[in-house]
């Protein structure tokens, strides 16, 4: 499938929405939903999933070992359904980890890749596609159709959730924003962009299970860590460290609130 055709299709659609003054914003949302349906059996993230699967099986790093023995929480080598249970507590690292944090652990311990090499530039851009992003696409794709089941049984999981919740409500910066400033009301928008209300299970579930996602406007597959990173950018905060406790705990808060929803990623976003 040609991603450029998809991109131009999308923009033609968008412009036709913007061009029509009489159409209300809810119509715009409907149009984007229609567009999603139209290409639902051909999400460009498929390419990232395929690339990720190939890389996963390929020996690499200084130790020339593949990722196939990586334990994502369901046992060594089990990828199917793993993402629907993350973040979770891992005894070997003695901490709660999200998918990307766990991938970093596997890449450093199994393959011998220095952590800095992975975490310095973890997000893709023009002509740059880090392996970890493709691993993400592959792994989350293996949970498509699986019910979200994030545990708070371990005390550290419970604590991560509580810390994540507090980070969500933390107001600071030049605009006094918290995550909660834009994400605790029903049916509101920034410009034309709908904002999920994370006080509500339904919104929390719909938002969480559609990430990671292919971003049409950027022509790139984006991970959940990227999603949080870009939220903080728009919140006018400084940058959160990639796979830091801060980001993992916030992800835990959001993932747990999405429990019982059917995971549907990789998603497709404007």
């Amino acid at each position: 499938m040609n991603t450029h055709i998809i991109k131009s299709l999308f923009f033609v659609l968008l412009f036709s929405i913007y061009g029509s003054v009489v159409q209300a914003a809810s119509d715009a949302t409907d149009e984007i939903a229609k567009y999603r349906e139209m290409i639902s059996d051909g999400n460009p993230a498929d390419f990232d999933e395929m690339r990720g699967e190939n890389l996963w099986k390929k020996p690499s790093g200084p130790k020339k070992v593949s990722m196939q023995k990586c334990d994502l929480g369901k046992g060594s080598g089990i990828v199917k359904g793993a993402y629907a249970e993350l973040p979770k507590f891992f005894p070997d690292t003695d901490r709660v980890q999200d998918l990307e944090s766990r991938l970093v652990s596997c890449m450093t311990t199994l393959q011998g890749i220095p952590e800095k090499e992975i975490t310095t530039k973890p997000f893709g851009g023009d002509n740059y596609k880090p392996d970890i992003e493709s691993y993400v696409a592959y792994v989350v794709g293996q949970s498509k159709g699986v019910k979200m089941n994030v545990s708070l049984n371990h005390p550290k999981e419970k604590e991560a959730y509580e810390i994540g919740k507090r980070i969500f409500f933390y107001r600071a910066g030049p605009y006094d924003f918290a995550c909660a400033t834009c994400h605790t009301q029903d049916k509101i928008r920034i410009r034309m962009q709908d904002l999920p209300n994370f006080n509500k299970a339904k919104d929390s579930q719909a938002a969480y299970v559609s990430w990671p996602a292919y971003r049409v406007s950027q022509g790139l597959f984006r991970s959940f860590q990227w999603r949080l990173n870009d939220c903080f950018r728009q919140q006018r905060f400084p940058e959160p460290q990639y796979v830091s406790e801060l980001t993992i705990d916030l992800a835990m808060f959001m993932a747990r609130n999405a429990n019982d929803a059917i995971y549907a990623g990789p998603g497709l976003k404007r």
């Binding site: 980070i167 933390y170 107001r171 910066g173 928008r189 904002l195 006080n199 400084p238």
Partner: protein, 211 residues
């Protein structure tokens, strides 16, 4: 009486109960841990320096009480914020609505991807409806369409101008935990820019008021 209440509620966003219910009980040890994680896990990037995560008294109070602090604290801090408003030295509140409209459209500024010399916009359309022509507007804040007609019966003339200037300069002086940024107080917009926005909202010829 109702009208006065309505005026006081000007710019109020929805705050309160559902958030409080979600955040649960207070836990001092955990709160301290959260602060240490926040200080450790953010870093400088571009113009967005780490000191931005340090809360001032308003941010700390609104975070602690999930935007619903005790009335006595709320009134004390609102009074402090109001006292700190720097009113225009020339006593004039109205600038150029055309410049105001441009500023209202601009949503750039203050992010780590903005250049240091980028002039921050007013971000108004991000959250408010203002002119009938612009259909791409946000709904976090109330609609400001036909602002003059909406508010002229409550206040008028220079009193209304001063009131609007004060809200854009520091909305938290009127309602402590409101969502709206403190554009003057935190140095996002200049005095002249705020005057331009006051004109956009109050000039009868501006697209906000002229149908």
């Amino acid at each position: 009486m109702m009208k006065t209440k309505y005026a006081v509620g000007f710019f109020i966003a929805l705050i309160g109960c559902p958030i409080a219910a979600l955040a649960g009980d207070k836990n001092d040890a955990l709160d301290a841990k959260v602060i240490s994680i926040i200080k450790r896990d953010f870093h400088d990037k571009g113009i967005a320096r780490l000191d931005r995560i340090n809360q001032d008294s308003v941010q700390a109070m609104c975070t602690q009480y999930l935007n619903n602090p005790p009335i006595v604290d709320m009134e004390r801090l609102e009074a402090e914020q109001e006292k700190a408003i720097k009113w225009p030295a020339d006593g004039k509140y109205m600038g150029d609505w055309k410049a105001g409209e441009k500023l209202a459209q601009s949503g750039i500024g203050m992010t780590w991807s903005d250049k240091p010399d980028a002039i921050p916009g007013g971000n108004c359309y991000n959250c408010h409806q203002l002119s009938a022509k612009e259909i791409s507007y946000g709904t976090l804040g109330r609609s400001l369409l036909h602002f003059r007609a909406q508010f002229s019966q409550i206040r008028s003339g220079e009193e209304l101008q001063r009131y609007v200037y004060g809200h854009i300069y520091n909305a938290k002086a009127y309602n402590l935990c409101v969502k709206m940024p403190r554009f003057g107080h935190l140095g996002i917009l200049t005095e002249a820019q705020i005057k331009d926005l006051v004109a956009l909202l109050l000039d009868p010829e501006s697209p906000v008021n002229k149908q």
